[in-house]
Symmetry: C2
Subunit: 345 residues, 2 copies
DNA sequence: CTAAGCACTCGCCACCCGACAGTGCTAACC
DNA sequence: GGTTAGCACTGTCGGGTGGCGAGTGCTTAG
C-alpha cells in the first residue's frame, strides 16, 4: 500500500513538522523537499497516509501532522540515529570527566543530557542488585544511635541511622563490624543479605541480652538497607525545557510537571523501556496517564551487573534522530565511566 | 497619615486579593469586611493608599492590588504568623519520623514543605562548617583507585574517588586511615583540615617515593573534599505548583523555572534571608533577576553549629501568614530532628 | 469627615468579516 | 493508471466594532 514515494512523503512531513512546529501542507512540502511531483499528487498520497492512520489534520483546512503511528514508522524505518558531532563528543567528555563521585556523575549526566537534547532528562542510579559489598562501617553517633554506612563497588554509598539500646560493651560495634565485613565482603548484595541473616541468628544466641538486642537491630537495619537500596533513586533535570516556546503543553503542563516529580512515575517511564539498548516510546505507547502527549527516548547504560537506565522525555513532536543519538552517546560514555574504564571519546 | 481604618483597608485588600486573585474594588470590600463605612469613604482611603504607594490599579477601571510595599506593610504590621492546626502538626510529625537518614530527612522536608504551602520548597543541607569529623574510611576500589568516605556528626556522608599511583604496600591504606582518623576525629572540619595538612607534610617526608605520592594524593583530595563540602547542596521540590491555576507566571514561567534549576540561584535566594529566624522577601526585594514577581519565605533551622536554611518561593500574591506558619513549623521540627533530640509535636 | 450621586474610563467579550491556507473532487492529460 | 490543473469549499486567524459592566474620581451635601 505504501510505495516508496508515500514513505518519502511521510518522512518529509515528520521532518518539516518537527522543524517548523506547524501543520505541513502539500504545497510547502514540494517546495521544501524536491519530490519531483506536483502538490496534487502529494495530496493523493497524503489522503492515503491519512486513511492508514499515519497522519491527521488538526482541522479541515489545515496541513497534516504525524500521528503516533506515523512517528513510529518514521523512527522504525524512515530515519537513522544521528551520530554526534566531534564537538558534542568533546563536550560530553570534558563535562563528565570532572565528576568526583557517583552522585556527581549522575548529577552531571542528567544535566548534560537535558542540555544536549534541550529536553527533560532522567537518570536512574546504577542498580545495586548486582553490586558487591565493599565495606560496612558502624559508628556510634550518640548514645543509642548507630550510623551504618554501606559502600559498594559501584561507588554507591548508602547510609542509615538506627536507634539501639545503649551500647554497653565498648568493643561490640568494632567486633560486629569486623564480623559483618568478614561475612559480606566481596559478596553480591543478595548473597550478603543471606549471609547476614545467618550470622544474625548465630550471633544472637551467643551474646548476652543487651548486646544481642543491639546486634539484632543492626542486622535487621542492614538487611532492610540492602532491601531498600533496590528501590532505585531517579534524578530529573531540565524541567524548564517543558516551557520552551513551541511546546504545546500549555494546558497539560501542570499534569506533566506533577507526573515528573513522582519518583515512581519516572521509574516506570524508564522501566517501560523493555528493549535492551535504545528504546523509544511514542505518545500513547506509554502507560503513564497524563503523559500521552510525550515521548520517551531511553537507553540502558553500564555493563554486566552494573546496569541502569537513562533517558529523556519530550513532546511527541521531537527530533528523534538527534535525541536518540544524544541519549545513546551519553549512555555509552557514562557506562564506560562507571565500569571503571577510562572511556575514549 | 495612615490612620487605623486605612490600615484596615489595606489589610482587607491584601486578604481579598490573595483569596480571590482579582483586583478588589471599594464596593466588594465593604461587602465582605464589615468596615462600617460606605464605599465612597473607602475610595478616599484607597486614593491615599495609592498615593503612598501601598496599592495600585492594573488599569484605570479596575480595582486595586497591593504593591510590594503594601505586602511589606501587611507582613510587618498587619498580620500574624498563623499557627498550624493540630492536624497539620501531626502530619509533619508522621511524615518526618519515617526518615531513615539525612538524605531522606532533607528529601522529606522539601516535599512536606511544598505540600503544606502548595508552593515551591527549597531546603539547604545542614551546613558542614560547624560539623565535627566522625570517621574517615579509605577503600581500595580497584588498582589505582581509592575511595574516600568522610562522615560527620550531622549524619552527612561525603564520598570521593581519587586516582593514585598503584598501591604497593598492603597496609599503607589502613595505616594512613588510622593516622588520619587519629588526627581528625572529633575535630571541627576547619581544624581537621589544618591537622591533615600538617600530617601530610610530615608523612610525606618519612615514606618512600611511591607511598609518599599516594599519601599526597589522598591528603590533597581530603582537603579538597573538606573544602568543597562547604558549597552546600540545595534541593527543590514542588515546581508543579508554579503552574497552578491562578498563578500569573504564564509568561515568566520559563524564566522562573530556569532560575530555580540553578543551585547557585537557590543558594542566593536562601542566603538573602539575613534575619536570624523567619524572613520574608517580597517581589523586588530579591536581588535575583527574573524572580521579581516572587516572594521568598525562609527560615534558618537547626541549633548551634548545625544550622542551615529552608524556605518556599511563591508569587508575591501569597498567603503570607499561612506560609510563614508552615515554614516556621517545619523549620523547628527539622531543627530538632537533626539536632538529635526527639522532637515533640 | 462621611456619604450620595453621577459622569467617565477602560478592559472584556461577543460578534462579524475578510484574508488565507489547504483541502477534496473532478476532469483532462501522458 | 498514475499524474496534474483547476476550482469550489471549509475552517482558522486577525483585526475591527459595539455593548456591557465594574470601578473610579469628583462634586456636593449632610
Amino acid at each position: 500500500m505504501l510505495d516508496d514515494r508515500k514513505l518519502a512523503v511521510l518522512r518529509a512531513i515528520v521532518r518539516d513538522y518537527v522543524a517548523t512546529e506547524e501543520p505541513v501542507g502539500s504545497k510547502t512540502l514540494v517546495d521544501r523537499h524536491n519530490l519531483g511531483v506536483s502538490p496534487a499528487t502529494i495530496r493523493n498520497d497524503m489522503a492515503v497516509l491519512e486513511e492508514e492512520g499515519y497522519i491527521a489534520q488538526p482541522h479541515t483546512s489545515a496541513g497534516r501532522i504525524p500521528t503516533d503511528k506515523g512517528y513510529r514508522l518514521f523512527v522504525d524505518r524512515l530515519s537513522e540515529v544521528r551520530a554526534l558531532s566531534p564537538a558534542e563528543r568533546r563536550a560530553i567528555q570534558q563535562f563528565m570527566d570532572n565528576a568526583v563521585n557517583l552522585d556527581d556523575v549522575v548529577d552531571r549526566t542528567v544535566r548534560l543530557l537535558s542540555q544536549l537534547t534541550r529536553q527533560v532528562a532522567v537518570v536512574q542510579y546504577p542498580s545495586l542488585s548486582g553490586a558487591t559489598v565493599r565495606h560496612l562501617e558502624l559508628l556510634n553517633m550518640a548514645p543509642g544511635r548507630v550510623m551504618m554506612v554501606l559502600i559498594t563497588d559501584t561507588g554507591r554509598v548508602e547510609q542509615r541511622v538506627v536507634e539501639v539500646p545503649v551500647v554497653t560493651s565498648d568493643d561490640l560495634l568494632p567486633d560486629l563490624r569486623a564480623r559483618l565485613n568478614a561475612v559480606m565482603d566481596g559478596k553480591r548484595l543478595t548473597a550478603a543479605d543471606q549471609a547476614v541473616a545467618a550470622l544474625g541468628t548465630q550471633f544472637r544466641v551467643v551474646d548476652p541480652v543487651v548486646d544481642g538486642a543491639v546486634v539484632a537491630r543492626v542486622v535487621d537495619a542492614l538487611r532492610e538497607m540492602i532491601d531498600e537500596s533496590r528501590d532505585q533513586r531517579v534524578v530529573m533535570a531540565g524541567a524548564a525545557n517543558l516551557t520552551r516556546a513551541g511546546h504545546d503543553f500549555s494546558d497539560s503542563l501542570h499534569v506533566v510537571l506533577e507526573a515528573l516529580e513522582e519518583q515512581v512515575v519516572l521509574m516506570r517511564l524508564l522501566g517501560e523501556a523493555a528493549t535492551p539498548d535504545l528504546s523509544v516510546r511514542i505518545g500513547h505507547e506509554t502507560t503513564v496517564a497524563g503523559l500521552a502527549g510525550t515521548s520517551v527516548v531511553a537507553s540502558t547504560y553500564g555493563r554486566g551487573e552494573v546496569v541502569s537506565r537513562l533517558g529523556v522525555i519530550g513532546p511527541t513532536r521531537m527530533d528523534y534522530p538527534g535525541t536518540m543519538g544524544a541519549v545513546r552517546a551519553v549512555a555509552r560514555y557514562v557506562g564506560q565511566l562507571i565500569s571503571g574504564e577510562s572511556p575514549g571519546a
